[in-house]
């Protein structure tokens, strides 16, 4: 009798456990197909009947290479993966070279490149994700958090932690853990950083020389920039002192310099209310207002599209300075018909230079990939192998994150001789926390395109005053982000 009772209880216990496992497995995000397990250091994770189903990534990595030698022990993986990217201009070539190098190192593997114009690619990705046939590896210039939260991205935490190179922070110029993870203290990593960007100040040497004005340097403040911009504005010659980059970028840098610890009160996912209407906000937006409508030393937004040159007015030689991304140097500014220079962004006050490395280029892997191991290898190749990182550096679009490569001549002295790469490398390594500013919001375009950009444009023409602008943005932003937060699934 006793044994029978026990066995029934045992039976119940085991069936409850199995039912629990089954339920959890059913609730978990889509698992990729089973991999050939590769001999390696890790773990028992695949065998325990627990909720590791949630992490959805079988362990088992290649024996990773040290920073100098390519992988020797890794068995080569076969299969085909798709690498989804947007148009990088001349740097597209670097992606092809990376694909070829990877294929050479892993015979039997094939990397298919899909390149679409920027913007179209996000739309296409959304459609592919919705339809369940996403590309395997996705190149992003921001965190694809919304897909992560929907369980559509592979959790890379274990791979990352088990990797001999990636897990060593000293080998890299920045904290390689997912910026989201870093900021919000989650324990899951979805992005693998492969490069960084920094905002920089470009200036047209010819215009400065013609006005006998000394070049900008790393001691400049924003007030210096405003003064010089005014001086170099000449309506008769249709010349302006400064041209701003995208509003999101430029407002972001200014804002962040004011309060680097709190990064950017603007589009983050988690605030219940936005906080534009404060001292910092007024300061930042007044700057736009002054430059645009008071000094009239900034290129009018309405005319930005009319210059037949990369870089709009700056590229056409009509603007003395522009705040831009360092990727411009590797892309369109290669062939500008005038001499130009690069320096750090101005600061809010003298001798105050917080870290401004706030954009990262990353690889993410779709959870529905049929080749998770190969996808991981490819992503890792781009981020942590010397060969991959060197090719990234030579592409001159991102700054490599592997320290050795970032300080190598290939990056600091590109073959086509552009100035300023040392600036970007140094700026990327400024001490300080690294955050990825935008768009952490769920939907990339909505708040900026509907409210933010138009507000800044109205400011620069004088239609709106700074006080009105910040009040308006709070009025629109608070319910928008509150709604977004409400609809978000919780971050595990």
């Amino acid at each position: 009798m006793e044994p029978k009772k026990l066995s029934r209880r045992d039976f119940l216990r085991w069936s409850a456990l199995l039912a629990g496992v089954a339920t959890l497995a059913a609730c978990a995000p889509a698992k990729p197909t089973e991999l050939p397990t590769v001999a390696a250091s890790a773990a028992s994770a695949t065998t325990a009947p627990e909720a590791t189903a949630a992490s959805a990534e079988p362990t088992g990595t290649q024996a990773a290479e040290p920073t100098t030698a390519p992988a020797t022990e890794a068995p080569s993986l076969a299969g085909e993966i798709e690498y989804f990217s947007y148009d990088l201009g001349p740097a597209n070539k670097s992606r092809e070279e990376i694909a070829n190098a990877f294929q050479a190192a892993n015979p039997g593997s094939k990397v298919k490149l899909t390149v679409l114009p920027y913007g179209d690619n996000w739309n296409k990705l959304a459609a592919l994700m919705a339809a369940g046939t996403p590309p395997d590896v996705i190149y992003g210039d921001f965190s694809l958090l919304k897909y992560a939260l929907a369980g559509q991205l592979l959790d890379l935490t274990e791979q990352f932690n088990a990797d001999p190179v990636l897990s060593k922070p000293d080998l890299f110029t920045m904290d390689m853990r997912d910026p989201i993870q870093a900021k919000f203290g989650t324990s899951h990593l979805y992005n693998l950083v492969l490069g960084t960007w920094v905002p920089v100040l470009y200036y047209n040497r010819d215009i400065f020389d013609a006005a006998s004005q000394s070049y900008p340097d790393d001691k400049w403040t924003w007030e210096d920039l405003r003064a010089v911009a005014k001086k170099l504005t000449d309506p008769a010659k249709q010349q302006w002192g400064v041209q701003f980059g995208t509003t999101l970028d430029t407002v972001g840098w200014l804002w962040w310099q004011h309060q680097p610890k709190d990064f950017w009160a603007i589009p983050q996912i988690f605030p219940e209310k936005t906080d534009f209407n404060n001292e910092v906000g007024l300061d930042v937006f007044s700057f736009w207002y002054n430059l645009g409508s008071q000094d009239k030393s900034a290129v009018p937004f309405s005319e930005m599209g009319s210059f037949q040159a990369y870089g709009a007015a700056f590229g056409a030689g009509k603007a003395a300075m522009v705040i831009g991304g360092d990727w411009d140097a590797g892309w369109g500014y290669r062939e500008l018909p005038f001499k130009w220079g690069v320096t750090y962004l101005p600061t809010v006050k003298k001798d105050y230079r917080p870290a401004l490395n706030c954009m990262v280029a990353t690889s993410t892997i779709a959870a529905a990939t049929k080749q998770p191991a190969l996808a991981w290898q490819f992503a890792r190749f781009m981020s942590a192998s010397t060969e991959g990182q060197t090719l990234i550096g030579e592409g001159a679009y991102e700054t490599p994150v592997l320290k050795d490569v970032a300080h190598s001549d290939a990056v600091l002295k590109p073959s086509w001789g552009a100035p300023g790469y040392d600036v970007r490398v140094k700026a990327a390594e400024l001490p300080g926390p690294m955050y990825c500013p935008y768009p952490l919001d769920m939907d990339l375009w909505e708040f900026p395109s509907k409210h933010f950009d138009p507000t800044v444009q109205k400011l620069s023409t004088g239609e709106m005053k700074p006080e009105e602008a910040v009040a308006y943005l709070d009025k629109e932003g608070t319910p928008y982000f509150a709604e977004m937060t409400k609809n978000m699934p919780p971050i595990k």
């Binding site: 559509q152 937004f301 005319e303 210059f307 037949q308 939907d443 375009w445 909505e446």
Partner: protein, 360 residues
């Protein structure tokens, strides 16, 4: 974007066919049964009855029914692919999108039922009202302009002068070109600094406005661009004009009417059926303005050219708000439907159907 009235739904930018031979001037002709065939059937039934000795009447009945039924079956088979296509590619997606309009769906995850919240959101959305306003202004300007300009052109060309064929070719050609290519061309023509229009103005010392970058001019530029394709309607106007019997004009000139009277009392009424048709199609087409604003202004400086379809596209593919986009499309559908019904209802007052007169 909107392909040929195909499975993408929607109206292609195409003119209606010229009315068939003037006899069926009504825009929605009703099929007349093949009277003669019915007579023949009747005759054969009678013959059958006469020849068959004392056969049960059921036979004759069956013969007759089966003929009708055979025809019905044949009809069903003929139209089956089209009906199937309608069900699969139009009705089913339509119902799905109606359902979607009641959900919050972001393409990542599952749709979440929210009832009429999307519609409420739209009515409270400033940008939605802006899109309605922009599209309304565009349609209000463009529809009459299209009708008047193309008709004026057709009237000019309806004369039997030499070389009219060449002119017809010239005016018709721009209308056949692709929306994307045309938009690219106009972007280049309207460029503030280097576009042909402004450089030509500069030659005579006038500083042209920023056609595409100035929010006061952008919508005007889009409207202007649209007039390049007035030639589309030439074939239908010309066909209809040629169907007007010349006796009427001769009678008018005998009665002493000038050219304006001729137009007003003869041409326009005789064309009213085609005007009616074109009016409806133009309304439908104008409210779906997309390609030009998408390519040339992207919604325009500060949303001054944010057409309804563009805002819909932004919601669907930019902000991934599928539910809201579906709601928008249903509202558009309703608006267009109401407008069309209004035009239909008003039609007895001003549309004249030749066919009806002849029948009476």
């Amino acid at each position: 974007m909107i392909a040929y009235g195909g499975r993408w739904g929607g109206l292609p930018h195409l003119p209606p066919p010229p009315p068939a031979a003037g006899r069926q001037g009504c825009a929605w002709p009703v099929a007349t049964p093949s009277g003669r065939l019915l007579e023949l059937e009747e005759a054969s039934v009678q013959l059958d009855r006469a020849l068959k000795p004392a056969g049960p009447r059921a036979n004759a009945h069956r013969f007759r029914l089966s003929l009708q039924r055979r025809e019905a079956i044949a009809c069903a088979l003929f139209i089956a692919p089209a009906v199937l296509g309608f069900l699969v590619f139009s009705l089913f997606p339509l119902l799905t999108s109606a359902a979607l309009s009641l959900t919050d769906y972001h393409l990542a995850g599952w749709p979440r039922y929210v009832g009429l919240a999307n519609y409420a959101t739209l009515f409270g959305d400033d940008l939605w009202w802006q899109a309605v306003r922009v599209t309304g202004i565009y349609a209000l300007c463009v529809v009459p302009l299209w009708l008047i300009n193309s008709l004026a052109l057709a009237l000019l060309m309806n004369q039997n002068l030499r070389g009219m064929n060449v002119f017809r070719t010239i005016y018709y050609l721009p209308a056949m070109l692709s929306g994307v290519a045309v938009s690219m061309l106009w972007i280049w023509l309207l460029s503030y600094r280097y576009g042909l229009i402004n450089t030509s103005l500069r030659l005579v010392g006038v500083q042209g406005p920023n056609w595409v970058g100035d929010k006061r001019w952008a919508l005007f530029s889009i409207i202007l661009m649209s007039q390049w394709s007035v030639g589309w309607y030439l074939p239908t106007w010309l066909g209809a004009l040629q169907n007007i019997p010349t006796e009427l004009y001769e009678a008018a000139s005998i009665d002493g009417g000038g050219w304006w009277a001729r137009i007003r009392y003869i041409t326009l009424p005789m064309l009213s059926a085609v005007i009616f048709y074109n009016l409806i199609m133009n309304i439908i087409w104008a409210t779906q303005l997309f390609t030009e604003v998408f390519m040339v202004t992207g919604g325009g400086p500060q949303f001054s050219t944010l057409s309804y379809m563009l805002y819909l596209y932004n919601n669907a593919f930019g902000y991934s708000k599928m539910g809201v986009a579906s709601a928008m499309s249903w509202l558009l559908f309703l608006a267009v439907l109401l407008l069309t019904i209004a035009v239909f209802r008003s039609s007895p007052a001003w549309v004249y159907y030749e066919a009806e007169r002849r029948r009476a």
